[in-house]
Symmetry: C2
Subunit: 214 residues, 2 copies
């Protein structure tokens, strides 16, 4: 498989963790999102992914885009070890947690949105920080509440092995740390972060451990 | 089943379409998102959904939140008629199309984001319109390109029956029309809209046909 990746991208980070969890080797192709106006706008890449976003995953002649669709594809084509529980209610819980990050937190704070906010919208850099922190806090507040008092919560978000919820959560925590968001109100999230830090699939996916890290 | 719903919510609209496609009856509970500061902040509702968003779906004693997780749950618990193709590549294509809307378009434009933009961020109402149109156009541009020239595209986004891609697309088109976005550059999306308009599951889910419509 070939992963079109960027070390700083939270969505690409999810794909890296999932590939590692599944024990799948992949070739890394860096798509630098800020150099020379953004390599994601190069015609060859735009042809793979007309959204001009990372990641994209090539599996044979299949071109896969959108990180959440990639996670589900990897789960379906390489079921072991599972990233989703077996029961529909458990799966719904894991997907809901994942989507708190993937739909309602990350997309509000990614590079293209920050640039548009401080560019076309004329929002100051200080206010852009307020914006970023606001959406991270809202997402993490809900996530923490859903973990609290639910017997399904374990070492990870759902049980004692990583699921797609953790695959989404960990890159978002890394992003929150980059943005110096105070995380002391989220003790359950911090416990999961500690568990992930001790897991080789998460460790190898760290932005700092990527070939294009700066 | 019980659906906590609001006629204007694009995410709740997805859940309504999916329930109708599966032929499932449900009780409707309206959560008015703007009356008296927003009924989604009432303690009883916040207890069901700590994100204070709609929809939430009760199935027996299971509380389901996040519309995309709800769609997958309905697909797993009521497989017929399918809202996802059988092959992993097809499923990945449908989920990617769905997530162009569910991750990268809708969350940038929903009520809480528009309020925060024009409130705390001090963005003018005119600029907020520019913002809304910008993200809708970007999402629709990519969606239209992915439909074009792909033999998997049919009457609907993937084949000739509705999938979760269409379940996400149609409420986003309705939202674009509310915001008077020019859709003439998206002929394939407009064809799918016409197909959905002729489909009873979509027709019954229309905002105007809900008990809480204003």
């Amino acid at each position: 498989m070939k992963l079109y990746d960027y070390f700083r991208s939270g969505a690409a980070y999810r794909a890296r963790i999932a590939l590692n969890l599944k024990g799948l080797d992949y070739e890394h192709f860096s798509v630098h999102l800020t150099r020379a106006g953004g390599e994601q706008f190069n015609p060859e890449y735009a042809n793979l992914n007309p959204q001009n976003l990372v990641p994209a995953l090539l599996d044979g002649d299949a071109v896969l885009i959108q990180s959440m669709a990639i996670l589900e594809y990897l789960e379906e084509t390489h079921p072991e070890p599972p990233m989703l529980p077996r029961d529909p209610r458990g799966r719904a819980r894991v997907r809901a947690l994942a989507n708190i990050i993937a739909c309602d937190t990350h997309p509000l704070n990614n590079l293209r949105v920050r640039l548009y906010l401080t560019g076309e919208m004329g929002v100051s850099a200080d206010n852009a920080k307020v914006w970023i922190e606001h959406w991270i806090r809202l997402g993490f507040d809900a996530y923490e509440k859903l973990l609290t008092g639910d017997p399904a919560t374990g070492t990870f978000s759902h049980g004692d092995t990583p699921t797609i919820a953790d695959v989404c959560l960990i890159p978002q925590i890394a992003n929150a740390r980059l943005n110096k968001v105070d995380l002391s109100n989220f003790p359950k999230l911090l416990k999961i972060e500690a568990a992930a830090n001790a897991h080789p699939a998460f460790e190898r996916a760290l932005p700092a451990n990527q070939p294009d890290a700066e």
